[in-house]
């Protein structure tokens, strides 16, 4: 991309909404706190001032009804963007998402589509605990009729949000809180990043690391450090969880012969298991080693930093797992991480040292 404009993921998302609203009068935004001074972590700031009350809506604490209302607006030709500051709040609207949004197009004979984007913020760290940070991508990916998008790079966050708004189907757009503060080159113009297409963020030949959202950033850092151990890791940033880009995954694993899937969610019934199954059941002979997966321990997320440091997988976990798959000596990993100047003195429960909480 020609641009050299470095902005945060949050700014990229705000820009995508702003430009979509400027381009299409049917796009509107609604959510708890959308027009408030903080504007959903900065992702909706300034929109009410620019587009007015008729297009930028706050809402009562009525997640289920408001999701239904957004579906009603969507089948009337509008393009709602519904925002939840935590995915966990959106669970109150699962009836409308699963029973109606996902099925409306099919069950009424393809007569009415539901062009609805539901943004949900997922997370990691800062004591968010059991009900403020759940990564439930597998739950939504299980439902036919929904698309599930999970960007890691700011530029993809913008391009995928454009694509999601233009998509005639309901799209669950999962934004990791730590992606909001990630920075990257983001073109100023309007562009779309296709839904359902993964991105290879690091080329390699020894092992394929499939990941998404924040863990794709950790996987990328892991791949960069693994080079110091002489390991050439290929990192696939899925970008979309449903539909899965099976082609890109399979092409890479055919080349490397090894597969590690790094997910931000629980392993039980998760996306990592799905990806491994698809590879193994398609052609097990391409694998030179047993595939592996990394996810959260199958238990609710604790709040205490004394516990979360053992709960969340991290750079070290990924690097160690890669060494295990490759049967390589992992004893120097700690030293390699400790020697990297960019990784110094960042506590494990924040994305970077500028984070002072609460968030």
């Amino acid at each position: 991309m020609p641009s050299k404009r470095v902005i945060t993921g949050a700014a990229a998302i705000q820009e995508a909404i702003d430009q979509s609203m400027a381009k299409d009068p049917n796009v509107f935004v609604v959510g708890e706190g959308v027009p408030d001074p903080k504007g959903v972590f900065g992702t909706t700031v300034g929109l009410r001032e620019k587009y007015g009350k008729n297009r930028v809506w706050d809402m009562p604490l009525s997640e289920n009804a408001m999701t239904g209302a957004a579906i009603g607006a969507a089948i009337s030709g509008m393009k709602p963007i519904l925002v939840h500051q935590r995915l966990d709040f959106a669970l109150l609207s699962l009836d409308q998402i699963i029973n109606n949004a996902a099925k409306w197009f099919y069950m009424f004979g393809g007569q009415q589509s539901v062009p609805l984007v539901i943004r949900m913020v997922i997370g990691h760290g800062w004591g968010q605990g059991a009900q403020h940070s759940q990564n439930l991508q597998a739950l939504f990916a299980h439902i036919p009729g929904l698309k599930v998008v999970m960007p890691s790079q700011p530029a993809d966050a913008k391009g995928l949000l454009f694509a999601s708004i233009q998509d005639p189907n309901p799209v669950i757009f999962l934004e990791h809180r730590w992606i909001h503060s990630a920075v990257g080159d983001v073109p100023k113009k309007f562009y779309t990043t296709p839904i359902g297409k993964a991105n290879i963020t690091h080329k390699g030949s020894d092992i394929t690391i499939v990941s998404s959202s924040y863990m794709a950033l950790e996987s990328l850092r892991a791949a960069q450090l693994l080079a110091k151990l002489g390991i050439s890791a290929e990192v696939i940033d899925l970008r979309t969880i449903s539909p899965l880009d099976e082609t890109s995954i399979f092409r890479s694993v055919r080349k490397t012969g090894r597969l590690l899937v790094v997910d931000s969610a629980w392993t039980n019934g998760g996306i990592a298991g799905e990806i491994i199954t698809r590879v193994v059941t398609k052609d097990m002979s391409i694998l030179k080693a047993m595939p592996a997966r990394i996810g959260l321990p199958n238990m609710p997320t604790p709040s205490s930093p004394g516990l979360t440091k053992y709960y969340y997988p991290n750079l070290e976990t990924i690097m160690k797992s890669v060494c295990d798959v490759l049967r390589k000596d992992a004893s120097s990993i700690k030293k390699i991480i400790a020697e990297d100047p960019s990784l110094q003195s960042v506590p494990h429960d924040v994305p970077n040292s500028s984070y002072m909480g609460p968030f």
């Binding site: 009562p60 209302a69 009603g72 009337s76 029973n99 189907n169």
Partner: protein, 318 residues
């Protein structure tokens, strides 16, 4: 009452009754292989409300939706074909009796999750407000639905933004077999509506003329942008909750109660109120008989959807 409304409501009410009775008669053939929730006994609410609506006004409903679909002008052949699971059905055989739609008639859809369509109906006129359109959105619901959270959430939002929604509650006293007094405190549902800032009224749901008049008044309120409205009409389901049979023998309600309600038959009441001649009623019946026979014949001779319709891609719009 202006001329013609009584006749139109009568013909619609009778049409719904005869369609439902035909479904009841033929259900045992095992060709309608989906649940059916018949509207017999409750037809006057649908006929009265929809007679007061304009073509552009929209209607949505729940699991017991045949009457609402037909009263709004939904295509009969497509409804029957849908119940028969045929590709000519209103949902191409994907929906069955509990998923009806006829966009040409502005019947936007019905689904069987109690309360599920309430916020969607509200969303239709939320969008209308954003687009500066003026139609009214009617949502039919049962009294059981007023126990769902989404009902209360929707009343608040509709009133907050002055949305053109008419909530029509058919109170038939039972949720499946569970009576109202085991589910709700002795609360007037109109009180809930009023507390949210809605216009609210109750009426006899077995008197089509009363339903029509009360709906007209509520619509005047809504169309003059004084806010959404809630109407509750008392009525009674004659057949079993789901299926073609009578189920009083189960003992959840008494035969006496059933007989008492049957005496208020909405069809008989409208026949009397309209002072229709026998010649007229006989000719209407014979015309409807023919139309209904044709609809069932159409459904039965229509093919099932093709095997290629089992395709995951059909879950998504292109």
């Amino acid at each position: 009452m202006e001329g013609g409304h009584s006749e139109k409501m009568y013909e619609m009410l009778l049409r719904i009754r005869m369609v439902e009775e035909r479904i009841g008669e033929l259900y045992a053939e095992q060709q309608m292989r989906c649940p059916v929730h018949l509207s017999i006994g409750q037809e006057a609410v649908a006929a009265g409300v929809c007679e007061a609506l304009g073509k552009k006004d929209t209607v949505m409903s729940g699991h017991r939706a045949h009457a609402h679909y037909l009263a709004k002008g939904g295509n009969l052949k497509k409804m029957v074909a849908e119940i028969y699971g045929r590709e000519t059905g209103c949902c191409m055989g994907r929906g069955g009796s509990m998923h009806l739609v006829d966009l040409r008639a502005n019947f936007i859809g019905s689904t069987p999750i109690v309360g599920g369509t309430i916020p969607i109906a509200m969303g239709l006129v939320w969008a209308a407000k954003m687009k500066k359109e003026k139609q009214v959105s009617v949502i039919f619901l049962g009294e059981g639905t007023t126990e769902e959270g989404v009902f209360h959430e929707s009343l608040n939002f509709a009133a907050l933004h002055n949305l053109r929604v008419l909530f029509v509650c058919e109170n038939n006293l039972y949720s499946v077999y569970t009576p109202l007094n085991e589910r709700q405190s002795n609360r007037p549902r109109t009180g809930i509506a009023k507390a949210n800032g809605l216009y609210a009224d109750v009426g006899d749901g077995n008197k089509a003329l009363e339903v029509y008049e009360k709906t007209q008044k509520a619509l005047q309120h809504i169309r003059s942008d004084r806010g959404p409205a809630f109407l509750e009409f008392s009525t009674y389901r004659w057949r079993e909750h789901c299926g073609p049979n009578y189920d009083n023998a189960l003992g959840y309600r008494t035969e006496e109660e059933f007989e008492l309600w049957k005496k208020t038959d909405p069809l008989v009441q409208l026949e009397k109120a309209g002072k229709f001649t026998e010649e007229y009623t006989v000719s209407v019946r014979s015309r409807l008989d023919k139309e209904i026979a044709e609809a069932f014949a159409f459904a039965k001779k229509s093919p099932y959807p093709k095997k290629s319709e089992i395709n995951p891609r059909l879950s998504y719009a292109e």
